[in-house]
């Protein structure tokens, strides 16, 4: 049986130029799509030149599952299992690669290993990565219940944020605040400077948010200056940061587990194990919903330049691409 049928894409990222979409799946295959051409071909099928930019693939070391990706100007940073690797963009983005070429191995520029804890057989998933581009500090939420702060210039772990009691699903960073969501059902706010946690929220303690059949886990967290949006086994909920209290509980969202949240321009975005990807207002109101190809959406990335695009991927080999968030424009990876 074709294993493509059961492919899961856990992470995506754009190249620094914004023309390429890079996706990583559970089989350890990195796929590079020429977004510019894919979008262009959607508008004008007659253009023959489009065929020049096809997708091509790389193989991760040891065919390791690709859990998360982040990028800065020089490197594509991939979170695998027990290791974070950096790949020079020049070795990934190349117009001369054709679709049918053999899947080549990734040329690793550097790697940082996350050793398993003592007396444990656990290999640690790097579930989420966030980079601070100003000081090149990489934050990694991992399977050993900790968030690592890593200076990628020196390749050393600066600090290990330990407080969660289960693996980290998601992290978000704003200025000096880092928020992490965990399988244990808690969201913790950390102060990066003092390296202490400032606030710990457990949404499932609120009976309006708790969903006992799905569990207490928090699959995703997003923070802005005033707000925190989170969801998972618990319902999607919007919290006021200063009051540390839920402001809106979203009952209108039909899902069995939230994996993706976003907060942009006064609009909330949420997706997960659901037929739809939602756009919501601050007051439990659906602005728009897009039918998604994957059963579960695990990753949603968007960019404004050089062109506006949002890509949704998850437990499917298909990637939904939208240029406006009102409808699905095209589907990649078929």
């Amino acid at each position: 049986m074709d294993d493509k049928y059961y492919m899961t894409i856990l992470s995506q990222t754009f190249s620094p130029c914004g023309n390429y979409l890079i996706t990583g799946n559970n089989y350890g295959i990195l796929t590079v799509y020429n977004l510019k051409n894919e979008l262009h071909s959607g508008i004008d099928d007659n253009d023959e030149n489009v065929s020049a930019g096809q997708s091509y693939r790389f193989e991760m070391i040891q065919k390791m599952q690709i859990n998360s990706m982040e990028s800065n100007e020089h490197f594509l940073i991939i979170g695998g299992v027990g290791v974070i690797v950096g790949v020079d963009w020049d070795t990934v983005i190349n117009n001369n690669f054709s679709e049918n070429r053999k899947i080549g191995p990734l040329k690793i520029s550097w790697n940082i290993s996350i050793p398993p804890p003592k007396d444990s057989m656990l290999s640690i998933d790097v579930n989420c990565l966030v980079i601070n581009k100003e000081d090149n500090i990489l934050y990694a939420g991992c399977g050993d219940n900790a968030v690592y702060a890593i200076n990628i210039e020196y390749g050393e772990v600066i600090h290990k944020f330990e407080e969660h009691r289960d693996f980290i699903h998601s992290i978000d960073k704003l200025d000096e605040t880092l928020a992490s969501a965990s399988e244990d059902g808690s969201v913790i706010f950390w102060d990066i400077r003092s390296k202490k946690y400032t606030l710990k929220l457990i949404p499932s303690n609120n009976s309006a948010i708790k969903r006992p059949d799905l569990g207490n886990w928090i699959g995703s967290v997003t923070i802005t200056k005033d707000w925190m949006l989170c969801g998972g086994g618990s319902k999607l909920s919007l919290w006021n940061r200063s009051m540390a209290a839920p402001m809106t509980v979203y009952n209108s969202v039909e899902d069995s587990g939230i994996h993706v949240t976003k907060l942009m321009d006064e609009t909330l975005y949420a997706g997960g194990c659901s037929k739809y990807f939602y756009q919501l207002s601050f007051t439990d109101e659906i602005l728009c919903k897009i039918k998604t190809s994957p059963v579960s959406v695990y990753t949603c990335i968007n960019q404004e330049n050089p062109f506006k695009v949002t890509c949704l991927a998850g437990s499917s080999h298909k990637i939904d691409v939208c240029t406006k968030l009102n409808y699905k424009m095209t589907t990649l990876g078929i």
């Binding site: 049986m1 059961y6 559970n26 599952q65 656990l122 998933d125 399988e183 059949d213 069995s256 059963v295």
Partner: protein, 693 residues
């Protein structure tokens, strides 16, 4: 009379002479006249021959006319005339005078007579001249006429030639009808020199020359070919005669051999050995159509060689077959005659049988040869598996029907798995026997608006055509025993293998002692499994969690579908299994649905379209096959189901639901953003441990 004339003439001449002399006196300027005088003197001498003189004079004068200048003569004439006039005037004057000097008048008269004579002479000359001129002009006229005539003739000739030329040009030669060797081949093959080829390429050889050369080449070629043909014909004749000779010899040998055999029989009997029997087939075998004949011979031979447990026999009425063959030959022979001879009958016929015409051609198209070949495989428990091969005469196609007498199988799925209509489907990839592999058949059937009903005539599998020596990929194929020979072993093995795997599949589906098997592995299974049931395609394609499989093409209509339910405590897993025709080459495909109690005593229905855990369980069982070397085919499905049950229990135990306490050694419940379960079985020294992939 002539005498007098001559005399007068002589006198005249003498007179003339004297007058001339006189003239000289009168006209001192007339020199030419003096020249005239010399010859007549001699002529005058012969007075006797008067006639001669006359002719001589005539001749002389003629000569004179030739020699004398005409203009001079005319001058003389004018002068003479003038003198004459003067003399007349003078005489007139004298006569008018009173005293007429007689002598002077006499002198003048003489002079006048002289002058008159000159004038006469001139007149004569003139006459002669004019006659001569006339003669000459006549001559010229004649000449011109003849020239004109000649010209006319030439013109005619010219026209005629022109006509001829145009005729020649317009002449249609039969050379244009002859097919010539194309120019490029001609250049390569014909013995023309390189120089000529160069010329040809430069266009230096005129079309006509080239054409002639090609024609010549053609002629040569045809002549040589004719020779070859003759030779071949000759050799054919000799070979034919040789064959005749040989067959005659063989014919003569036959009784001898029979005698020898008869003679040897008592001896063989006394030695106790069986009389040698030639490998002979019943007469009916020879009535089989060629493809079936090959099948019969090849399977029989294979049976003999491999001591396989099957029998091959013919089925059908011998008499009917003979009649069929006879009819067929007759039809072939008389076909053309019929059409010409019997238009009347046809018309009548048409009216009568109009109602029948619709179905008759259809039946005709699908008509079978009355004989068929039966291949019977003897299996355990006195079970017979019978395949009958038919030959569709008009479609030139082999079809297969299966009949079998299975005993000891009661379950619904065993009927499905051993169903005669599908048991041989996909014996080789893609060979489902749904439509004729013969390309021509499609159009034949289309023409008659007939559908190939496999129920009536059996299924036209490609392998069936192969073992009967038919290969439709070769155009104008005739049945070839080599094709039959090359395929027979492979096909029979595949059929045997198919039966074996199907039977083993049934025993595996029957198997219910799963728990016992997995206790051995140190895993206690507490699930309760329902027996397998068959499932229809219509049901399958309406199930929400099966639709993606159809869309992705992993399950198709040809697959055998089964369903069973696994209960683990309060959770129920519905298992839909699709077994491919070519099992065990491709693994069964599973589609799963989990019914699970919720906290508020409801039931949540989870499957791969709405729950990632179920999707991962499906993946685990469909994608990650344990690669066990020398895995027993009779255990394959049982092992697979065993793994499914284990993974299902592990999934439930790591779900975090209070109904399912942990009973197995699991290191970590859930891992990663996909919240995946530990499905991977790892053998550890302390037992079995479940890990994440």
């Amino acid at each position: 009379m002539p005498k007098t004339l001559v005399v007068s003439l002589v006198t005249l001449v003498s007179f003339f002479k004297s007058s001339l002399i006189l003239e000289t006196n009168v006209l001192p300027g007339a020199m030419s006249e003096k020249a005239l005088q010399s010859k007549p003197m001699t002529i005058v001498r012969t007075k006797d021959s008067e006639a001669d003189i006359y002719t001589a004079v005539a001749k002389y004068e003629e000569k004179q006319t030739l020699n004398r200048e005409e203009n001079n003569d005319s001058n003389i004439y004018f002068n003479t005339l003038q003198k004459w006039r003067d003399i007349i005037e003078w005489i007139h004057e004298l006569k008018n005078k009173d005293d007429q000097p007689k002598e002077k008048i006499e002198q003048f008269r003489n002079d006048a007579i002289h002058l008159f004579l000159i004038l006469k002479k001139l007149n004569r000359l003139d006459k002669i001249r004019s006659r001569q001129k006339k003669e000459r002009s006549n001559k010229k006229k004649l000449e011109i006429d003849s020239k004109h005539l000649q010209q006319e003739n030439l013109l005619n000739e010219w026209f005629y030639l022109k006509k001829e030329i145009s005729k020649c040009l317009q002449y249609k030669s039969s050379d244009s009808v002859i097919d010539l060797v194309p120019l490029d081949i001609f250049c390569q093959e014909s013995p023309i020199s390189d120089e000529d080829i160069d010329k040809l390429n430069n266009g230096l050889i005129s079309d006509h020359d080239l054409h002639i050369r090609r024609l010549q080449w053609e002629l040569e070629q045809r002549q040589t070919q004719q020779k070859q043909c003759d030779e071949v014909e000759k050799s054919k004749e000799t070979i034919l005669s040789e064959i005749q000779e040989q067959s005659r010899i063989f014919q003569s040998i036959l009784p001898m051999l029979k005698d020898i055999r008869n003679a040897a029989q008592p001896l063989q009997q006394s030695f106790g050995s069986a009389p040698c029997q030639p490998r002979s087939y019943p007469d009916i075998v020879h009535l089989l159509p060629k493809p079936l004949y090959y099948l019969y011979i090849q399977t029989d031979a294979y049976k003999e060689a491999c001591k396989s447990k099957f029998t091959v026999s013919t089925n059908g009425d011998e008499e009917e077959a003979k009649r069929f063959d006879f009819n067929k030959n007759n039809v072939d022979d008389t076909n053309s005659d019929e059409e010409i001879d019997m238009p009347k009958q046809k018309k009548r016929h048409h009216k009568k049988s109009r109602i029948d015409t619709k179905s008759a051609p259809q039946k005709n198209l699908l008509s079978k040869h009355p004989l068929s070949v039966k291949l019977t495989l003897n299996l355990k428990n006195n079970t017979q598996f019978i395949m009958e091969f038919f030959y569709l005469v008009n479609l030139n196609l082999i079809t297969v029907t299966v009949t079998s007498s299975w005993e000891g199988f009661s379950s619904s799925y065993s009927r499905e798995l051993l169903s005669p209509s599908s048991i041989l489907d996909a014996l080789f990839p893609g060979d489902n026997g749904t439509e004729s592999p013969h390309i021509v058949n499609f159009h034949q059937l289309e023409e008659e608006k007939t559908e190939f009903n496999t129920l009536d005539v059996g299924k036209p599998y490609i392998w069936a055509q192969s073992i009967c020596g038919l290969d439709f990929l070769i155009p104008n194929s005739v049945s070839d025993f080599l094709i039959s020979r090359n395929h027979i072993a492979q096909v029979l093995k595949a059929i045997n293998n198919r039966l074996k795997t199907r039977l083993s599949l049934i025993t595996q589906l029957d198997c219910s002692d799963l728990e016992r098997r997995f206790c051995v592995n140190g895993v206690n299974l507490t699930s309760v499994l329902s027996p397998w049931n068959t499932m229809s395609w219509d049901n399958f394609k309406n199930l929400e969690y099966c639709i993606p499989h159809i869309e992705f093409g992993t399950v198709t209509e040809n697959d055998l579908l089964f369903k069973r339910v696994i209960n683990y405590k309060t959770a129920t897993l519905i298992v839909v299994m699709a077994i491919k025709c070519d099992y065990p080459v491709s693994n069964p495909i599973f589609a799963l649905q989990l019914n699970m109690p919720t906290t508020n005593e409801g039931i949540s229905v989870l499957n791969s379209t709405n729950n990632n855990s179920v999707r991962e369980l499906e993946r685990e069982i469909n994608v990650f096959h344990k690669q066990i070397e020398n895995e027993d085919i009779n255990e394959l499905l049982i092992n697979l189901i065993g793994r499914l049950v284990i993974c299902f229990e592990v999934m439930m135990e790591t779900w975090g639901h209070s109904d399912f306490p942990k009973t197995k050694t699991i290191l970590y419940n859930i891992r990663g953003r996909t919240r995946s379960h530990p499905f991977k079985v790892v053998k550890h020294h302390s037992g079995i441990i479940f890990e994440h992939r």
